[in-house]
């Protein structure tokens, strides 16, 4: 089974070109940090309440990304709130997207291609080898949003990460997203981690709007 981080990065791969759809935005970067926290929660290494995060188990998960974040958390007993940890991991996030891509390549879901544009600019692409996994992710997101039934935990988390990454447009039409905006917000609001990710993104957008970006 893929991690939440891998699922959302896989969703960002353009099925026809192998290019990445969402690289570089603040929303994506924060959402990927949120995905790591969801993975740690699913691995039963952390739990959260409305504000605080608790480390339950410091033993390795087997995922290099998760274990690195978990080790960082274990060393910083002074940070206890979900929001503080999202900011902390955001600043030291290294290349979460790159590590997820590398894992997807190792699992045979993607392959890596490098080429040159105008002879000098490196262009990386990640063509999909086996598109069943990405299709499954799309179907789960569409079902979670378009139906009125209660989704399972992973699908709630998936919608919560895909939305701030701007990836819902690749699953649903604009009309569907508009019609189901309330449902999307409902699902995104269910988890403390995604609520705090939304606050972090909102704060960055507000500070940029006022001409003084807090994070570069």
């Amino acid at each position: 089974m893929l991690t939440m981080l891998e699922e959302v990065v896989l969703l960002a791969v353009d099925e026809s070109t192998g290019g990445l759809r969402s690289r570089g935005s603040f929303g994506t970067a924060y959402a990927l940090v949120g995905a790591v926290f969801f993975d740690l929660a699913l691995a039963r290494r952390i739990d959260t309440d409305t504000e605080a995060v608790t480390i339950l188990d410091r033993s390795p998960t087997g995922s290099a990304v998760l274990d690195r974040v978990l080790a960082a958390m274990a060393q910083r007993g002074d940070i206890t709130s979900v929001r503080q940890w999202i900011e902390e991991i955001f600043y030291r996030r290294d290349d979460l997207e790159g590590e997820a891509l590398a894992s997807l390549i190792r699992q045979g879901i993607l392959r890596h291609e490098k080429s040159k544009r105008l002879w000098i600019i490196d262009v990386e692409r990640f063509p999909i080898v086996d598109n069943r996994t990405q299709r499954d992710v799309r179907v789960r997101i569409a079902d979670a949003i378009l139906s009125d039934t209660i989704p399972n935990t992973r699908d709630i988390m998936l919608v919560s990460i895909a939305e701030p990454c701007g990836l819902l447009n690749y699953v649903l039409t604009e009309d569907q997203i508009t019609a189901r905006r309330e449902r999307i917000q409902l699902l995104r609001n269910l988890e403390t981690i995604s609520r705090k990710v939304a606050h972090a993104i909102n704060d960055v957008e507000t500070s940029m709007h006022h001409g003084a970006p807090r994070i570069m």
């Binding site: 039963r44 739990d47 309440d49 608790t54 039934t149 209660i150 399972n152 935990t153 269910l190 403390t192």
Partner: protein
């Protein structure tokens, strides 16, 4: 720690939950609630003595509600403490679950 007891009153299966619903107890809570909604048409979780609920606890309640919905069973929670009500309100769970002020039976 969590303590879960069950009894039947006026056609409702009442699951009384005492203590803390967190990562440590979420599996017990979810398994009990799932089992109750799988074998009863009407189930209410009495949270009058539930003093704390974490994200793991919320997921357990929500997934039990999901099973009830898929089976066409009636599932409700009741008698929320102030802390638990605040968590339900913040997460929007109050828009998904049937919440009663007191036991409906």
């Amino acid at each position: 720690m969590i303590q879960v007891t069950e009894d039947t009153r006026n056609g409702w299966r009442v699951v009384t939950v005492t203590g803390r619903a967190d990562a440590e107890s979420a599996d017990t809570l979810e398994a009990t609630l799932r089992s109750a909604v799988e074998s009863n048409a009407r189930v209410v979780a009495d949270f009058a003595a539930l003093v704390y609920i974490s994200s793991a606890g919320l997921r357990a309640v929500l997934q039990a509600a999901r099973v009830a919905q898929s089976r066409g069973s009636e599932f409700a929670v009741c008698s929320l403490t102030e802390f638990v009500r605040k968590v339900f309100d913040m997460s929007g769970l109050n828009k998904i679950l049937h919440i009663h002020g007191e036991l409906p039976c």
